[in-house]
């Protein structure tokens, strides 16, 4: 690589070149101004030689040729260090001007990162950087410590117009005017002088000038004088093809064409002049000087001796040298001379020599602690190394050394440090060390903001160009730079940098970074008045949930300000404020299915469908019915897409969330819809005049923007609300199409302080709540279709609700409710059906009931015959209730229908009701619709009732019933008022007096209590005495009143309508076996809440009633065989005459369905005579007094009746009787029949005898029972056990007394 060909090389060849000082008279300048140029400017283009081809010899006499060469011309006034302040001002102007040019590009989007990497450097780098850097380097020129800026020659120019030109020449080189460098001894005042006479051809012929020239030649010597004739073109209209001055005139306003008075001859004269001046005068002069200086230096400093001497001498010199470093080296000092030698050699491209001398002097300066000079030498050394392309390391080391040394000097070295840094950077760039270059840029950032802004921006580009590109660094430095630009009011530059940074940060997930960039660039755009772009950027930062509240407020405030500044509304797609949770999107529309309330709509469709099964006419039949008629007319898509009815609202529920901690107001939230009509749909409407419709409404579209200018085809609901910090809100939006056609839900829009945000649903995958039940086959349709609706002609719609449905109730609570149905339209409907999901909880009452008092229908009427069945009349199969034919709902008059609610079991209970109806109008597209009602009832626990039934030992078909009641309610006390058995089979009676049952008359919370009842089967009596009137003794009734007489409560009819219905459903609930089982009994316990309780006060006018049902309570749990001994209890007999023979009768009942073979074996107690001394028949009867009352015994023995009986033999008296009948009898007993077996005993002495010493073996006959019974037995192990059994006899006490 040729170092001179690199950018830095080129730069050095331009910047480190001999300087020629120009001294001229004002009239020279006047002549040049005609061309719009100063004298120096006029000459400058011709001072640059790309191939001057001058032969030279190095100090060691090696010939070489100089090719590239340049002279720098400066007026004497400019040969001094530039004023720092002026220089800064100048730089600022350059930057500002560059900023102005950016205008157009600013608004465009920043490029993509990939594009950024592909595009070339020159495209990306702003062109003014190069110019600016040059300017920066120049601010450090003409310093004392470096000699390459010191003029090597002097051009004295006098115009031919001047009077006494010779004297003027002498005057010009007057020390007063000369720059300080020459005057204060920093450089040698004896420099090359060249005399130039300028003649303006406008002023006449050049004769006079020639005369003066010859005069000059005689005075100053022939070689040193020149005549230059300019302005040969008279009419000042010369045009130059390639304007040589263009690149030298940066800030000049082009009012005048440059060089307009110079014709071709003039220009070639200029060229010749400068060429001759360079090659014949400057270069030889410099070569000569190099030679002379080299000899001097060699003499004094080269060689071992000189070096030792120098070292020694320097050491000694060290102490007194306290002078300021600047003035200690005059031009005549050996150090300065070495430096001059080095610089001259450098400028003549003899870098070896230059380097040798720099090295020499560098150590001297270091020893002298002349840091600035040392740094300067190090700097130029590095450049020399670079141009020699020898040691990169050396070059870099020197450069860093120089840079650091300059920095150490503080402010005085700042300019030099900058220049040094720039050179260093160029050097690094040449070697592709962009990363290092960037860090140097970073280091030359000074406190001065504008300066560092530019440097940082350049650094950022270095990061971009580095391999591999460091994009993050690029972005970061752009932001840093932009920040500084902003602080110096260079907003355009700031925007430019941030805009570039955006290409890096556009998709970033680093939230603070993204916010910072967007927020600031937005602000700045607003400052410049680009409100659109500003708003776009501000929108990006609005939803900054991670920021602090203060920052959020700041963002919001600025956003609003910018917004107001913009002064118009924006349509912002995807406005992040508020955030829409699309997963919450729910569309509720009503086709056949209508909903009474929104909770009903949110119920799973499958649930409704399972309920609907029996209601809706089965698909094939019903479908073909109306499809047959309509298929030709109806387009296919009507069947395939969602159907909704004109005039009925479609509800869309969307969740809005405020991501900020700041409350935000949202207004005008509404849906965006498109309602379109196309030809094919119009054809459906056969009766309508097609042409008319097609004219004005053909393909009517309500696009996104037009929605506000509503033409009445759709009605959109609008919502205003405010979201607090972090709040979420579900918003229900509705759209009501007014016309038939196709309705499409496009999205949702809202207004956030004048900014209209909208959100389209299309982009997202829909989560749809409404299942496409009917169109399951077409369930694969795209989710977008879910937002498309076919709007059809209005059809009647039934609305309904249950009046004052309670939210919670205690278990068992029975309440009357009213179902209210309304049909707003004028078309009537027919064929109403209703189905209830839980008939256990809700039963349908009679139409008449609503006019009757609630109590009346519950109370037991005197004639209870009519109760029972008629509520079931209209009940069709599967629990579908058909309304009477004459029921028609139309217009304002609602239909009221009574319902009974009973909270069956404590749980959170969901009730679903479907009402089906058909259209009277057969032509409508929809044949039927369903109304879906949904209610939620929380059932609280109240009384918990359980029954235990044990057979009565002494009576056939009588049972002891123990009822355990526990109050499980949390706060309510209950009063138990009535227990009823259901059906005619059983009668029940109290065992205790009313008042004694519950002392406090109510069950308080948590209290448990047991009741005892006698249960009696009525069937037995009807079996054996079919002809008799069933003996219904007053205490064997269906109902038992449990509350004391003082509380006058009427009996409740458990067999009448609501209770009976509920009981049926309870039975269904429990009943796995629906067949009638005689051994089970159902109970209904009626209770009331205690009136004194606080919460019952409000509805104390309404009688409250609770019913608790217990079904299938088994009676005979042990054996299907029951028997009873019938006979006398007391007998008088004269034992003196004979023993007493007593006949007894055993009635045996087989309650099973099989034939039972029974054998009774009696046993005379043989071995029982030992225990007690016999006194005839009289034996002490231990506990017998109690046992004599079996009822009481039952109470004590509690739940194990067997144990009671097993006690008996212990206490049984010694048997002094014998069974005198057949000791064993076998017989068959038909199913469900009774038989009497005669028994006989013989008693030999008076006494009390326990006749329990017999055993009853029973066996159910399987053979004629049939297979089905077997199966039943197998399936039920409990029954299996009961196939056969043995029962020991019941105690039966017989007292025989001696008759008198």
């Amino acid at each position: 690589m040729d170092p001179a060909g690199t950018p830095l090389g080129k730069m050095l060849l331009e910047e480190i070149t001999p300087v020629v000082m120009v001294l001229r008279t004002p009239s020279v300048e006047e002549a040049c101004v005609k061309n719009g140029l100063s004298f120096v400017e006029m000459l400058s283009p011709f001072c640059n030689f790309s191939n001057i081809d001058v032969p030279l010899r190095t100090s060691s006499d090696q010939p070489y040729r100089l090719h590239k060469f340049k002279l720098r011309l400066f007026y004497e006034s400019d040969v001094r260090q530039p004023n720092i302040e002026v220089a800064k001002e100048r730089l600022k102007q350059v930057i500002t001007k560059a900023g102005e040019k950016e205008n157009l590009e600013l608004i465009s989007d920043p490029p993509q990162v990939s594009n950024l990497l592909d595009s070339s450097k020159s495209e990306l780098l702003p062109s003014w950087f190069e110019y600016l850097n040059k300017e920066l380097i120049r601010t450090a020129s003409f310093s004392e410590h470096e000699t390459f800026d010191h003029p090597v020659g002097c051009l004295l120019v006098v115009s031919s117009k001047d009077e006494q030109p010779i004297n003027r020449f002498i005057d010009l080189f007057n020390t007063n005017k000369l720059p300080s460098l020459l005057n204060d001894g920093a450089m040698d005042p004896k420099i090359l002088k060249h005399y130039l006479l300028v003649h303006d051809n406008h002023d006449g012929s050049s004769e006079k000038a020639s005369k003066i020239l010859s005069e000059m030649k005689s005075t100053f010597g022939t070689n040193e004088c020149h005549l230059l004739c300019i302005n040969s073109s008279q009419d000042a209209k010369m045009e130059h093809q390639d304007d040589p001055w263009a690149s030298y005139k940066y800030d000049g306003s082009p009012v005048q064409r440059l060089g307009c008075c110079l014709d071709v001859d003039d220009i070639s004269a200029l060229k010749d002049l400068m060429h001759e001046f360079s090659s014949k005068h400057v270069i030889p002069y410099m070569e000569q000087k190099v030679r002379i200086l080299n000899q001097q230096v060699s003499a004094t400093r080269r060689g071992f001796r000189n070096q030792i001497k120098n070292l020694w001498w320097r050491k000694g010199k060290d102490d007194p040298n306290e002078m300021p470093s600047g003035s200690m080296y005059t031009f005549s000092s050996i150090e300065s001379q070495i430096r001059v030698l080095g610089d001259h050699a450098f400028m003549l491209h003899d870098y070896e020599l230059a380097l040798a001398n720099y090295r020499l002097i560098s150590t001297d300066y270091k020893l002298d602690k002349a840091w600035k000079r040392y740094a300067g030498v190090q700097e130029i050394m590095a450049l020399a190394y670079f141009l020699l392309d020898q040691s990169r390391k050396e070059a870099e080391y020197c450069m860093e050394n120089a840079f650091n040394t300059y920095l150490k000097l503080g402010s005085s070295g700042q300019q030099n440090a900058t220049r040094c840094g720039l050179w260093w950077i160029e050097m690094l760039k040449t070697r592709d060390q962009y990363k290092e270059a960037a860090s140097v840029y970073f280091r030359i950032c000074s406190e001065e903001l504008l300066h560092s802004a530019v440097m940082l921006e350049q650094a950022s580009y270095c990061y971009l160009f580095s391999k591999p590109p460091m994009l993050y660094k690029y972005g970061f430095h752009l932001v840093l730079s932009g920040d500084r630009y902003r602080k110096t009011d260079q907003i355009k530059h700031a925007i430019r940098t941030y805009r570039s940074a955006l290409s890096v940060y556009r998709e970033t997930t680093w939230s603070y970074i993204r916010d910072h960039v967007h927020f600031h660039i937005g602000q700045w755009y607003a400052l410049l008045g680009f409100h659109d772009v500003a708003v776009r950027h501000m929108l990006q930062v609005l939803a900054c949930s991670h920021q602090s509240k203060a920052t959020q407020e700041l963002f919001l405030r600025d956003f609003l300000q910018i917004f107001q500044g913009a002064g118009k509304t924006f349509e912002v797609p995807g406005l992040q404020l508020p955030v829409i949770d699309i997963s919450s999107l729910k569309v509720v529309f009503e086709d056949q299915r209508t909903y009474a309330s929104s909770p009903a709509a949110s119920v799973r469709e499958s649930l409704w469908r399972s309920l609907e099964e029996d209601l809706i006419p089965s698909l094939p039949g019903a479908r073909t019915n109306w499809l047959d008629v309509q298929t030709k007319l109806m387009p296919k898509r009507l069947r395939e897409s969602n159907v909704c009815v004109a005039g009925e609202a479609i509800k869309v529920v969307v969740e809005f969330k405020n991501p900020l901690q700041v409350p935000i107001p949202i207004s005008n939230v509404s849906l965006i819809c498109e309602l379109s009509r196309s030809e094919e749909e119009i054809s459906v409407d056969t009766n309508a005049s097609t042409s008319e419709l097609a004219n004005d409404e053909d393909h009517q579209r309500f696009g996104v923007m037009v929605v506000s200018s509503d033409s009445g085809s759709v009605i959109l609901s609008e919502f205003d609300f405010s979201l607090g910090g972090g709040e979420k809100k579900l918003v229900e939006l509705t759209v009501t199409p007014k016309l038939e056609g196709t309705l499409k839900l496009v999205g949702v829009r809202w207004k956030f302080s004048g900014c209209v945000g909208f959100y389209t649903f299309e982009s997202i995958l829909l989560v749809k709540k409404i299942a496409r039940g009917k169109r399951k086959a077409k369930a694969k349709q795209s989710p977008l279709n879910d937002l498309k609706f076919v709007v059809i002609k209005p059809v009647p719609k039934l609305e309904g609700h249950i009046r004052s449905f309670p939210e919670k109730a205690y278990a068992g609570h029975i309440q009357p409710l009213i179902l209210e149905l309304k049909n707003q339209s004028n078309c009537s409907i027919k064929n109403l059906k209703m189905k209830i999901s839980h008939p256990r909880f809700l039963s349908i009452g009679n139409k008449e009931v609503q006019h009757v008092d609630f109590r009346a229908c519950l109370e037991k009427q005197s004639d209870n015959k009519q109760g029972g069945t008629h509520a079931n009349l209209k009940k069709a199969s599967q629990g579908v209730f058909l309304f009477p034919e004459d029921v028609a709902i139309k217009g304002d008059k609602p239909l009221l229908w009574p319902l009974w609610l009973r909270a069956a079991v404590p749980e959170n209970f969901l009730l679903y009701i479907i009402i089906y109806y058909e259209m009277e109008d057969a032509s409508s597209v929809m044949k039927y619709r369903t109304l879906r009602l949904h209610y939620n009832l929380q059932v609280l626990p109240s009384l918990d009732v359980s029954f235990k039934i044990s057979p009565c030992p002494s009576r056939l078909q009588e049972f002891l019933v123990r009822m355990d009641v526990v109050n499980k309610a949390s706060s309510q006390s209950f009063q138990v008022s009535q227990l009823s058995t259901v059906g005619d089979n059983w009668g029940i009676s109290r065992l205790q007096p009313i008042d004694g049952i519950i002392p406090s008359q109510s069950l308080t919370v948590g209290q448990a209590f047991s009741f005892f009842f006698m249960l009696k089967s009525r069937r037995l009596s009807s079996v054996d005495a079919a002809t008799h009137v069933p003996d219904l003794s007053p205490d064997v009734d269906n109902d038992v009143i449990l509350c004391p007489e003082s509380v006058k409560e009427p009996l409740v009819n458990a067999t009448h309508s609501p209770l009976a219905n509920f009981h049926d459903s309870e039975r269904l609930q429990h009943g796995i076996h629906n067949q009638k089982d005689d051994n089970t009994v159902d109970f209904v316990l009626i209770s009331r809440p205690l009136k004194s309780d606080t919460n019952s006060e409000e509805d104390s006018d309404q009688p409250q009633l609770f019913s608790h049902h217990a079904c299938y309570c088994r009676t005979a749990s042990t054996s299907p065989i029951s028997w009873t001994m019938i006979g006398p209890r007391t007998k008088y007999h004269n034992f003196s005459s004979s023993f007493c023979e007593i006949s007894l009768k055993m009635t045996i009942h087989n309650s099973s369905d099989a034939i039972a073979s029974i054998s009774i074996s009696t046993a005379d107690s043989a071995g029982q005579s030992d225990a007690l001394p016999s006194q005839g028949g009289w034996k002490p009867v231990v506990k017998e007094i109690k046992a004599a009352s079996p009822k009481a015994a039952g109470i004590i023995a509690g739940n194990s009746p067997e144990s009671l009986w097993s006690l008996k033999p212990v206490a049984s008296p010694v048997s002094s009787f014998i069974w005198s009948g057949s000791s064993s009898s076998n017989f068959q007993l038909a199913p469900r029949s009774s038989t009497d077996i005669p028994m006989q005993i013989c008693v030999f002495s008076p006494g009390t005898y326990d006749l329990s010493s017999y055993v009853l073996n029973w066996n159910l006959r399987q053979d004629d029972g049939g297979c089905d019974q077997l199966e039943a037995k197998e399936s039920n192990p409990e029954e299996m056990r009961k196939l056969s059994g043995t029962c020991s006899g019941y105690p039966y006490f017989l007292t025989v007394l001696q008759s008198v």
């Binding site: 591999p468 993050y472 660094k473 970061f476 997930t509 910072h516």
Partner: protein, 128 residues
């Protein structure tokens, strides 16, 4: 002495998955974004360095004014980055190692990308 420190875990695709400001110095309003900028920019350096060394702990790889960035690169190229102004290499190294251990545990528990923040945060604050 008040210290500034900002800890961040960056996933292999340069997405921050955990952030914590753990300095004792009172926070300036723009500190959070500056820290993010510096750390974000330092990713470039990490990218360069991570492949040149086998060490996981890369200390003081980048600096901005008096803020220094130290990084711990895990095997999965998740980067634990700490921006700090105090010089305590050993402390930082051991901090990184502990966090790394925690990070592995937490990730093991839930093989997702986001870190179980609360537990994690508590232990990190505690350790600093």
């Amino acid at each position: 002495m008040a210290t500034t420190a900002s800890f961040i875990i960056v996933s292999r695709n340069d997405i921050p998955i955990y952030e914590a400001e753990v300095g004792s110095a009172t926070k300036r309003e723009d500190a959070a974004q500056l820290h993010q900028f510096v750390l974000h920019a330092a990713l470039d350096i990490v990218q360069d360095l991570a492949w040149t060394t086998s060490a996981m702990f890369l200390k003081n790889i980048d600096r901005f004014n008096d803020l220094v960035v130290s990084v711990y690169v895990t095997a999965g190229h998740t980067r634990l980055m700490l921006l700090h102004d105090s010089r305590n290499d050993d402390g930082i190294k051991s901090f990184f190692q502990e966090v790394h251990e925690l990070y592995i545990k937490v990730n093991f528990l839930q093989l997702g990308c986001s870190v179980h923040v609360l537990v994690f945060h508590l232990s990190i604050v505690e350790k600093n």
